[in-house]
């Protein structure tokens, strides 16, 4: 067999494999759109649920998910980026920092339900935040931290050490170098890491199960100590716990969740592109 043919078969095989991976995803998305689009209306998005959630809208779940994501960002970004700056710029290579890195890798692999139970124990019960936006945000933040720290640290390390040396040689302190050169250069990578982490948080059900999510609460949360509905949990409820649920509402809810996460993803891509255009070395 000629080498040209070998190559053709190789490429063909790879293309087929790619297609096999992509097809189910396209099918699922297509299916959700086909079945759920009919449910989407202003009422569906901006109204409270009615009739045991079989009618009305999913407004509180949408707002809940947005608030939870914002709350997660509020806690996870400062600690995550701060931790990454510490690890990449200040920490020397000691057994202690190596232990932290090892812990981060392992934490990233822990099932989300374990975070949920941990959040229940720590935030809900021990700190007595009760099931609340606060407890849920903290739990989700905990779960996202390893992702944000690892991605940010990697982005920081990718900035050439020479720039740090130049800053020092000009009389700059380490922090000035970080603030004025390293951080701006690492920003695209950090943003990507942050949004990937938040994406995961926005779609998770298990961590919010015991810490914040309300089964049925047809009003908006009044304070950080209030419970709230949230899209992933709501979807789980209406798909498994409510008899005679119209399929259209289930698919519609999934479609809204999907749109929310995809737009977050899109924002990440656009931001990354914007910042990358302004950087090259």
């Amino acid at each position: 067999m000629s080498r040209a043919w070998q190559q053709r078969i190789g490429f063909g095989g790879l293309a087929a494999l790619t297609l096999i991976v992509i097809l189910p995803i396209l099918f699922v998305i297509g299916n959700i759109i086909a079945q759920g689009l009919g449910a989407i209306s202003l009422e569906f998005i901006f109204a409270m649920p009615r009739a045991g959630m079989r009618a009305g809208g999913i407004f509180p779940a949408i707002v809940g998910t947005i608030l939870l994501t914002l709350g997660t960002a509020l806690f996870a970004i400062p600690f995550g980026v701060g931790g990454a700056i510490y690890l990449s710029e200040y920490a020397r290579d000691t057994p202690f920092t190596r232990a932290i890195r090892l812990a981060l890798i392992n934490l990233a692999g822990i099932p989300s339900i374990v975070y949920g139970l941990f959040g229940l124990g720590l935030f809900v019960l021990f700190f007595q935040f009760d099931t609340s936006l606060l407890a849920g945000s903290l739990t989700l933040a905990l779960m996202t931290l390893p992702v944000i720290i690892s991605a940010s640290e990697e982005a920081l390390r990718a900035v050439p050490i020479e720039f740090r040396a130049v800053n020092a040689s000009l009389g700059g302190t380490r922090w000035q170098g970080i603030r004025r050169i390293v951080l701006p250069q690492a920003l695209p990578g950090i943003i990507t890491g942050v949004i990937l982490g938040l994406l995961r948080a926005a779609g998770e059900t298990a961590p919010i199960l015991f810490t914040v999510a309300a089964f049925y609460l047809p009003r908006l949360p009044q304070s950080p100590f209030d419970q709230t509905m949230a899209l992933p949990y709501h979807l789980y409820i209406i798909s498994t716990q409510v008899p005679d649920m119209p399929l259209e509402i289930q698919a519609g809810t999934a479609l809204v969740l999907l749109t929310l996460t995809l737009s977050l993803n899109l924002t990440a891509t656009l931001l990354r592109r914007y910042f990358r255009k302004r950087r090259q070395w």
Binding site: F163, V166, L170, G171, G172
Partner: protein, 250 residues
């Protein structure tokens, strides 16, 4: 006039001794060249003069380096201030991925948050000093990485000058440049010599002979010979030096 006085300097990376009992005076408004084979400690020596080695774990210096009579290793010496006084140009041109203006303004901004008007004047003066002003005055906002390598290296020099140092250290500043850009830098050094104390590490014998007033020859971490450049290149006292500059060793 003596600007820097190095006295019995030993330097270690961990347990490995890289510099042994180095003593030499470095004069103001002169160009001092350091030559020697690869790995003999020239860069290490240069980086101790502004304490850039401080950040390397396990690195340790013994002895004294006096800058205007003041020991730079003294606890009272503020290292950021020392580095503002003793500037450095690196081997590879390394402008920040920012505009030409921001590059030159970087030092003044971090050191005293210079006021806008003074800053513009300072940037212009620094760019003029390195002969870059006429080439870039219409594109100060342009990305510095779009400049040619030779221009980039002169920009880096301007960035160092904007901090208004007293001493300028250069570690093989021309090794990444073509012959023409190299000559430009050498020409520049001769002009800067009027106002600064310059120390340059170079692998290029002709360059050392062309630009420097004094030359020091390093060999395995020791300063073998230190004398007027002319003496080193015409009547070296040490056989090792002679072998090295004539290309028989190194």
């Amino acid at each position: 006039m003596e600007k820097i006085s190095v006295q019995h300097l030993n330097f270690f990376y961990g347990v490995k001794q890289v510099l042994t009992d180095i003593s030499l005076p470095i004069d103001d408004r002169q160009i001092t060249a350091l030559i020697g084979p690869s790995g003999c400690g020239k860069s290490t020596f240069l980086r101790t003069l502004n304490r850039m080695n401080d950040t390397i774990a396990g690195a340790r210096a013994e002895g004294q380096i006096l800058l205007d009579g003041e020991n730079i290793f003294a606890p009272t010496m503020e290292v950021t201030q020392l580095r503002a006084r003793v500037g450095m140009v690196f081997q590879r041109p390394n402008p920040f991925p920012q505009s030409v203006f921001d590059n030159v303004a970087f030092g003044p901004r971090i050191l005293n948050g210079a006021r806008a008007q003074a800053l513009t004047a300072l940037v212009e003066a620094s760019l003029r000093q390195v002969g870059l002003w006429d080439e870039v005055k219409d594109q100060l906002g342009q990305d510095a990485l779009r400049l040619s390598l030779g221009q980039q290296q002169r920009l880096c020099l301007a960035r160092t000058l904007a901090v208004q140092p007293e001493v300028i250290l250069m570690d093989e500043p021309c090794s990444a440049l073509d012959p023409l850009a190299t000559l430009e830098i050498e020409e520049l050094m001769r002009r800067l010599r009027e106002r600064y104390c310059i120390v340059i590490v170079t692998h290029n014998m002709q360059q050392a002979a062309r630009v420097s007033d004094r030359t020091g020859f390093f060999w395995l971490g020791q300063l073998v010979e230190y004398d007027a450049t002319q003496t080193i290149f015409t009547r070296p006292r040490n056989a090792l030096t002679e072998d090295y500059i004539t290309g028989r060793a190194g």
